[in-house]
């Protein structure tokens, strides 16, 4: 009776899909909030510094507003981050069982960074009225360090999943020895962590700038809006060119370390030299349809020579091939395309600033900035899709399949549906609260607006 034999398999495959969807969704949601936690403190402190140094009340007002907005996103991010740590056990218990002792170290370190950031965010928010101005400024600096440190640790754990090393298995596959430094500093750590930290600065820079660009398009062209656009946009414009360089290094790293992922994201079917670089298109087993092909460029980008041999999907065993080649390819292209467009925006801003010390006058510039935040987030998501889906079917490249890691528990589709509903509420709530705060700022000023962690406004005012 074959159907009976197939049933449990079908059930576990359905579980796997549900668990992967839930993980992808919750990670995608959390990553945006993480970016804010990583990069907004620095943005805020630049405004704070400008405010103190030049006695600029408007800049101080911005720093105050951003700290209160960050309190909201941080509180929501703490929740979605806690959910992720539960999901490690609820969705992927066998992953923890086998490798928790290896990569858990990275999360233990991240825990400290997060803890310290949470404490100093509260101190900074309390400090507006309780600390002397420069002491208050310095009380914000730990957040910049912990944001970067936290991002480094978490992404190092992800890099380890792509490039596992630093552990010894016995005959039964049990971890018997761990070398924590090798785990943390695996071959993918350098490019993955740098890529993510820069991405955080790009997302926050463009996102915050886009909010003020929208305000300026609505005719609010006061100093506050100009500063609110210039400060974050400058940060993003510094991060963007570095990011293109780091991203390029990352792609070559993937080509070396994870040829299956690279082949899928570049739609390379046959192993060989002189590979064509495809832009866009649909990947099929017979080749790419509807793409713009640049002969030899792919090989050239991988090894600076069109004679560079690049592995194609035909060399990868069928059961080790990533799924959804077209999606991977388009996600990769979208990320690179958006990054390049943002580089163009950065160059435009830099050029006009250099020439005239002001932002470009045409409304088209403000329009471009006002969509840049959303574009940066889309690029961020696309990058994570390439990293995570491109590693499939592995959860730990070469050592453990995602299907071996998934829980046997029932009801994952149900929990996924519930998570969708909850997070829809959480996202809507966060946006409504932030919009309401911004409306009240315009009407009453930052002093009067309450936020999480902050003392009662009637007490401070």
């Amino acid at each position: 009776m074959p159907p009976l034999d197939l049933l449990p398999l079908a059930a576990s495959e359905s579980n796997l899909l549900a668990a992967r969807e839930q993980m992808a969704f919750t990670l995608g949601f959390h990553i945006v909030l993480s970016c804010i936690g990583v990069a907004l403190p620095a943005t805020m402190l630049v405004a704070n510094y400008v405010g103190l140094k030049k006695g600029d009340e408007r800049a101080l007002e911005l720093a105050k507003r951003w700290s209160k907005a960050m309190a909201v996103t941080f509180a929501v991010g703490a929740v979605t981050g806690t959910v992720l740590s539960f999901e490690f056990g609820l969705l992927w218990p066998q992953f923890e069982h086998r490798f928790g002792s290896v990569f858990g170290v990275a999360f233990a370190i991240e825990g400290i960074f997060f803890f310290v950031e949470a404490i100093f965010l509260a101190i900074y928010i309390y400090g507006w009225k309780r600390l002397k101005p420069w002491a208050h400024f310095w009380s914000g600096v730990p957040m910049v360090v912990t944001g970067i440190g936290g991002a480094f640790s978490v992404v190092a754990a992800n890099a380890w999943m792509n490039q596992p090393q630093g552990f010894t298995l016995d005959a039964a596959g049990k971890v018997v020895d761990v070398e924590p430094l090798k785990v943390l500093f695996n071959p993918a750590t350098g490019y993955e962590t740098a890529h993510m930290i820069l991405a955080a600065y790009m997302v926050v820079g463009f996102l915050v700038a886009s909010i003020y660009a929208v305000g300026m398009l609505k005719g609010r062209r006061d100093r506050l809006h100009r500063l609110g656009l210039i400060i974050p946009l400058t940060i993003a414009c510094i991060a963007t060119p570095i990011q293109l360089f780091v991203g390029d290094t990352a792609a070559r790293g993937v080509a070396d370390h994870q040829p299956a992922k690279f082949a899928a994201m570049e739609c390379i079917q046959e192993t060989g030299t002189d590979q064509t670089e495809y832009v866009g298109g649909i990947c099929t087993d017979d080749g790419v349809e509807g793409a713009i092909g640049i002969p030899g460029l792919d090989s050239f980008l991988v090894g600076w020579d069109t004679d560079t041999k690049v592995i194609g999907l035909n060399s990868i065993p069928d059961d080790e091939e990533p799924p959804a080649h077209t999606m991977l390819h388009l996600a990769f292209d979208a990320m690179v395309g958006i990054g390049t467009a943002l580089l163009g925006l950065a160059a435009w801003f830099a050029f006009v600033w250099w020439k005239r010390r002001e932002i470009p006058r045409t409304p088209w510039f403000l329009r471009a900035v006002s969509v840049s935040g959303a574009a940066a987030i889309v690029a961020l998501w696309c990058g994570w899709i390439v990293t995570e889906v491109g590693r499939q079917p592995w959860i730990v490249q070469g050592y453990m399949r995602t299907s071996e890691a998934v829980t046997e528990a029932d009801g994952i589709w149900f929990s996924f549906a519930l998570v969708l509903l909850l997070y829809a509420g959480l996202g809507t709530g966060a946006i409504l609260v932030l919009r309401a705060m911004s409306r009240r700022w315009r009407e009453q000023g930052a002093e009067k607006v309450e936020s999480p962690y902050a003392p009662h406004s009637e007490e401070v005012a």
Binding site: A75, V76, G89, Y126, A409, V433
Partner: protein, 334 residues
């Protein structure tokens, strides 16, 4: 002490901090829930909110700490617990999401109706979250989590012992919170609120005590190993907890102005370490010992280093924050 035992001790330290600060935080939510209508409940709610607000996040990071240490230092125990008790764990996580949302949004919302809805979400999840966490602890103590995991998803925790431990978690959080809030009201010079929370501390202490006795009875029938050790090796700690509890009741009844917090904290800490001693040397009584679940030595070393760094960096920062927050409470009245 082996490295594994030391790591287990660190796990317990994290759990202790979470029970004290996270527990009091949940308790604050409970008192918020039962404070009555918007007008009558306004003053106690203000005291609660002022005392929770600055330290909210920090209180809950201890949970992450416990989870991470558990999966890093004792991976098989982590997966066994999560594959068996996923129902109460998922419900606790749901509570955490709702609570966090309530906390993040309620202060920033202006409309009274939305504010009340968020407040209610915050308060209801403040009761459900510790309850389900308690059932997880109770199910572990009862020996219902098999070492290989995938135990029964429902009968493992829908039993008298786990359910009564769940109720005890809620009650002891309420007890801690009421005692902490007495202190905050005192420092704020609000005599009326001081008495208000004193009465509630007394009530919660009695309920928590009664639930502890019920828990002991359930322990006797469902978790013999833990019961036997709790009444032998763990007996000094049980007595200590009892003494703290009785002393606190005496102070409350006589209405003195003696410090209450150390006594309340002592009662709770003694119970947690009594539970630890009673389980020893098992993480999952009686199927998984600490040494069987332990990660390799190098991992344990990193856990110790992380713990030491946390002690050196996190505790002084927390101290600074608590000081700033208390300063705020003081200045609010002048």
């Amino acid at each position: 002490m082996s490295k594994a035992d030391a790591a287990a001790a660190i796990l317990w330290v994290g759990a202790t901090f979470y029970a004290l600060f996270g527990g009091a935080d949940f308790g604050g939510g409970l008192w918020d829930l039962v404070a009555g209508g918007p007008e009558r409940g306004q003053r106690p709610r203000d005291v609660i909110q002022r005392s929770l607000t600055p330290v909210w996040e920090a209180n809950h990071v201890w949970l992450i700490f416990v989870l991470v240490v558990l999966w890093t230092a004792f991976p098989p125990a982590f997966s066994a617990i999560f594959t068996t008790l996923y129902v109460p764990i998922a419900l606790a996580a749901l509570g955490i999401v709702l609570r966090g949302a309530g906390f993040a949004f309620r202060k920033s919302i202006v409309g009274l109706r939305e504010r009340r809805a968020m407040g209610a979400t915050f308060a209801v999840s403040s009761v459900l979250t510790p309850f389900f966490m308690g059932t997880v602890v109770g199910a572990i103590a009862a020996g219902n989590v098999p070492a290989e995991g995938n135990g029964d998803a429902f009968s493992s925790w829908l039993q008298p012992l786990p359910l009564s431990i769940g109720a005890m978690f809620v009650a002891s959080g309420a007890y801690l919170a009421a005692v902490f809030l007495v202190g905050d009201a005192r420092r704020g010079g609000d005599a009326e609120m001081e008495r208000y929370f004193e009465r509630r501390a007394l009530g919660a202490a009695l309920v928590a005590g009664a639930l502890a006795i019920a828990g002991l009875v359930a322990l006797h029938s469902e978790a013999r190993y833990v019961f036997d050790r709790l009444t032998a090796e763990g007996l000094p700690l049980v007595i200590l907890s009892l003494l703290c509890g009785v002393a606190l009741l005496a102070v409350l009844v006589r209405g003195g102005r003696r410090p209450l917090r150390p006594l309340a904290a002592g009662a709770v800490v003694a119970v947690i370490w009594g539970w630890g001693v009673a389980q020893f040397p098992y993480l999952l009584p009686t199927s998984l010992r600490i040494d069987q679940a332990a990660a390799p030595d190098a991992t344990m070393t990193i856990v110790f280093i992380v713990f030491a760094v946390a002690a050196v960096v996190v505790l002084p920062s927390l101290g600074l924050l608590y000081t700033l927050a208390q300063k705020d409470l003081l200045e609010a009245d002048h």
